[in-house]
Amino acid sequence: MRVWLFALLLLLPICAQSQELDYQIFRTLPVLEDGRLKPLDSFAVHMRTRISGSATLDDRPAIAWLAQTLFDPAQAAQERVFYIRNAHIRAQFELPSRTNHLYSLTELAPRLEESAKSVTALLTRELASLTADEQDLRDLHTAILIYNQLLQSFSLLLPLPFAAPPEAKLNGAYTYLDAQKVEPKLMQNLQKLLTPKVLAHPETLTPAQQQLAAFVHDLQKLREGGTNNQLLRILPASWAEQKGEWFAPWQLLLSGQGSPTTQRLLELWQQLAQAYRSGDATRWLQASQELHEQMQKLVGTADERLLLEVLLRDLHVLDVTALFLVLAMGLIASHRRWPRAYSASLIAAALSAASLSTVLLVRSYILARPPVGTLHESVLFVALILLLGTLLITVRRRMPGLALAGQVGTLALLLVAPFVHSDSENMTMLSAVLNTNFWLTVHVLCITAGYGACAATAALAHVHLITFKTASDPHGRLALLHRCSLMALLLTAVGTLLGGVWADQSWGRFWGWDPKENGALIIVLWLMWLQHARLAGQVSELAFTAGMAALGVVVAQAWFGVNLLGTGLHSYGFIQGIALGLFSYTLLNLMLIAGLWWRAKRGSHA
C-alpha cells in the first residue's frame, strides 16, 4: 500500500515545485509535533498558520516557506511573515502601514527587546484580564519565538557568518560543528590570555586576540540559542532508554543522545541544506530520497500514515464533498424541469457522503483513534449523519424539500467546521481525559450521531412547516417526523447516560451539573417533552412540528453554546469567537420558525 500511496503522491501536480527544487519527498519526512508523528508538510502548514495567521499568504507552498526558514535563515529573516493588523502594535514597533499587514523579523528587531520587557509582565497575568492590544502583543511575541526557533533549528550545521581566528584553522565556509572541534583548544588559548591584568584593561588585546575572544563568545551564544530549541523534532531516539522520543538537532546533541544513526541523518539534513543553498536540484532530490529511505526504516508502518496525510491535504477531499453537495442542490432545484434530476441529486449526495466518510475514516486511521475526537471532527460527523439521514429518507420517499434541506444543512456545517476550531487543519491529539478509545467510540459517536439525528429531525420539521398545508400526505409526514425524533431521542439519551458512566470512571461521579452535561440533558428533555405533550394531546401538530424545528437551535446551544461558557470539566471543548455566529443562527432560525408557524396558522384559519 505504501508504494501505491507514494506513487500517487509523486503523480500529483501540486504545490511542490519552487525554485526548481522538488519538495514532494521532502514534505513527507516525519517530524514529531503535538504528541504525534506528522509529515513535514503538515508541520509547515501548522507553523505558518501560527506565525502568519494563514498557511496561504502567497503563491508559495508552506513547505517551500519552511525550507527557506530552516536552510536560509538570513534570507528568511527578511521575509514578511508576521501578520500585524493591530495599529497600536504597529505604532509600538514603528512599522509602516501596509495593505497586507505583513512584516519581517528584521523590521521588528529594533524594538523587540523593549517590547519583550512588557510582554514578560503580561505573561504573569491571566489571559482573560488582558486587553485586546495586550493579547495581540503577546501573540506576536509567541509567533516571533516560534519563528526564531525555526530559524535556528539548523544553526549547528549551516555556514557561520562570523570570521574564525587564524589559529582555528577553519578555512572557507565552516559550521558550528566544525568550530566545535577546535573550541576547547581556543578556550585554553583564551584562558591563558585573560590574565587579571588584561581583564582590567581589555583594550590591550591585539586585534587577533580580540577576534579570538569574540569568536569563542559567539560560539557560546550560538550554543545558548540552541539549548532550548526543541521545536523541530526530526531525529528519533537511538538509545533504548529514550525509546519513542524524538529530538530537535540541537536538543539531540546537547543532551548527549547522538548516535551513529542520528549522525548519518544529520549529515543528510546538512546535504539538504547545502543543496538548497546552492539551488542544486539533483543533489536536493538525492538527499531527500536517501533521508526518506533512512526514516522509512526507522518509523516503519507510520510512513503510510504520513503519506496518507499529505494525500488527504493535496486531494482537497472536503472541497470535493462540498462540490458534490452544490451539484446535488443544483440538481434538486431543477427536478421539476428534468424529472431525472431527483435521482441524479441523490447520487451526487451519496457521493458527497462517501467523500465525507473517507475524510473521517482516513483521519481516524492517521490518528489511530475513533473518528470524533475534536469539536471540528464532531461537526464533520454530524454533517455526515444529517446527510445520510436525509438521504435515507429521500431514497425511500420522494421528498425534494427534505433532500434540499439536508444538503443545505450539511453544506452549512462544512462551511462552519473550520471556524469552530482555529487549528482544524492540524490534526491534534486527544486531551488525556478523552484518550480512551472504548468510551470515545461508544459515548462520543452515540451522542454526536444523536446530534446528527436531531439535525435531520429539525430539517424535516422545517420542510413540514413550509408545506404544512400543501403536503399530499400530512399524516404520513408527521408520523415520519415522530419516528425521526424518537431515533434522535434514543441516541441522545443513551449517549448522555453513557457519558455519565464514563464521567463516573474518569472523574468519580456520574453527574455533576456541568454545562455540557446540562446541555445534553436539555436536548433529551426537549425531545421527551414534545413527545409526551403530543401523545397527551397537549400540543397541536403544528406546535409539535415547530418545536421539532427549534430542536436545531436547542442542539446548537447545547453543542457549541455551552463551550463558550468556559467552565466545567469539559475544558477540551472550550472555544471562542463564535458567539456572534451562534446568536445570529439562533435568532434567524427562531424568526424563520415563527414566520412559518404564523403562515401555517393563518392558512389553517383561512
Binding site: 560543528l177 566545535q180 572541534k181 577546535v182 576547547p184 583548544k185 585554553q188 537511538s238 538509545w239 533504548a240 532508554e241 539531540l252 546533541l253 546537547l254 543532551s255 548527549g256 543522545q257 547522538g258 548516535s259 551513529p260 544513526t261 542520528t262 549522525q263 544529520l266 472504548f438 467510540t441 461508544v442 452515540c446 419516528r483 424518537l486 431515533m487 434514543l490 441516541l491 443513551v494 453513557l498 458512566v501
Partner: protein
Amino acid sequence: MRNLLLLILVLLLGLSIHHFYGRSVPQAPQPQPVSSAPTRAAAPDFPFTTLDGKTYQLSELRGKIVLLNFWASWCAPCKVEFPQFLALAKERKNVVILALSVDHDRQALEKFVADQAELKKLPNVLIAQDKDKAVAQDLFQTIRFPETILIDTQGGLVRKYVGLEVDWSSTAFMGQLDGLANAP
C-alpha cells in the same frame, strides 16, 4: 424502524457489557523466556592507535564487552571517573575499556596517563587519541564529555552513558556487565 431501534439498543448494550464484564482478569506477570540478545545497531568500525603505537580496529575486540569512553585530560568529570574504569578493568578481564581522548595537546594526555600507575598492569585498558574528533563527533555524534558507550560481545550498541551517570566500579554496574556477558 422498530427493528433498527432494537438493533442499536442491543449493540450498545453489548458494547457496554463487553466493556464492564468482558475485560480479562489481570494476570500475574509471566516470566519471560530467556531469549537471545535483542537486535542492536552495530557499532561502526574504526581504526585507532594506542599511545604505545599499536593500531587496532574496533572490530578486533569482538567477543569482549567494550566500554568506549570519550574523554579529555582537560575535562574534570572525565578525570573523576578514570580511576573507576581502572578498578573495573582490574575486576573484569573480559571487559575492554577503550578510552579515546579528544585532547589536542598530546603532551597533556601523555602526562595524565603517565600519572596512572596502575594502568601498566591492565592490558584491557586501551588509550588512544582522537585528536580531530573523527570518531567521537563524526561517527558517534559526541560533542560533550565524558560520554561512554557500552558495546556487547557482538559489536552491538547497547547503551550510552552521558556524564557521570554511573559508578563504573560499583557491584551493581559489574552485575549488569555480567548479565550482558552471559546473554546468549
